[in-house]
Amino acid sequence: MTLEATLLIAAAIFSVGLYGAISQQVVVMVMMGLELMINAVILAAAGFWWFLAPHPTGQVLLLVIIAAMTVEMAMGFAVATHLHRERHADMTDMATDLSG
């Protein structure tokens, strides 16, 4: 158990999440990719905290990251619900109003 090992695992999870966030078409699957990326950030932050500076302040930062993930999830579901209700759309390609 080293900092390098923790960060390598976090990098792998982050990359998998990035692949999902870029490649998926269904809104919920894109959200899953984002969740995986935040999952990796949590692991990396936990590793930094334990191996570099295990002061309680760092754990507060972790709680903020978890709260951010919750907010992202709740708002993502709300937007996806709204999109589905207004247009019967569940794909990102059907909601490109703001692109370009």
């Binding site: 982050f14 999902g20 899953m32 999952n39 500076a53 754990q59």
Partner: protein
């Protein structure tokens, strides 16, 4: 040694389950794969001595993925538990970006000369976190609370089918209310 092996196995499970999210051909399975990935990371956080945060991650994510599974059964166009699906675009480009990102991050991780630990960890980590939250870092929680409330309000407003503005008009003065099924006794 045992802890090291356990940590690596959990890391492998987290990564493989994360990859399975985009590999399995049903959304329900994808949701449970994501839950497994989160549980593995939560257990790794427990290995890193952060008991409170690790348990919070596991409990929260299991509930969140349960909600997500129900949500997908409700809203997706097909039966997500049964119907195979593959809905991706630019898969090869995305794969190249992901692999490039991993190699860049891994190079950074391995090449940087990480410093040694500066302070000793507190004897009771969870207690220290509680005292920090109830003391000098209370402002953080005080800021997160209204953000959470705003999220609840915004989520309900976005997801609600009909609100008072649909019933009473934009200035809320329209009477009687515009309801799909009018009630009352016709006065």
């Amino acid at each position: 040694m045992v802890a090291d092996i356990g940590f690596w196995v959990l890391g492998l499970v987290a990564v493989m389950a994360g990859a399975a999210v985009f590999y399995v051909n049903s959304m329900a399975r994808a949701t449970y794969a994501l839950a497994l990935s989160f549980i593995a990371v939560g257990l790794q956080v427990l290995f890193l001595q952060q008991n409170y945060v690790g348990v919070v991650i596991i409990l929260m994510m299991v509930m969140e993925m349960a909600v997500m599974a129900v949500y997908m059964v409700m809203f997706m166009g097909m039966n997500p538990a049964l119907m195979p699906m593959s809905m991706v675009h630019d898969s090869k480009k995305a794969l190249a970006v992901a692999i490039g990102t991993f190699l860049t991050l891994a190079a950074g991780v391995l090449l940087v000369d990480w410093p040694a630990r500066r302070v000793a960890p507190p004897a009771e980590v969870t207690r220290a976190l509680g005292e920090e939250l109830m003391g000098p870092k209370m402002l953080v929680m005080a800021v997160i609370s209204p953000v959470m409330v705003a999220t609840i309000v915004a989520g309900v407003v976005l997801a609600a089918h009909r609100t008072r503005y649909d019933r009473f008009g934009d200035d809320l003065n329209h009477r009687p209310a515009d309801d799909p099924q009018p009630g009352g006794v016709g006065r």
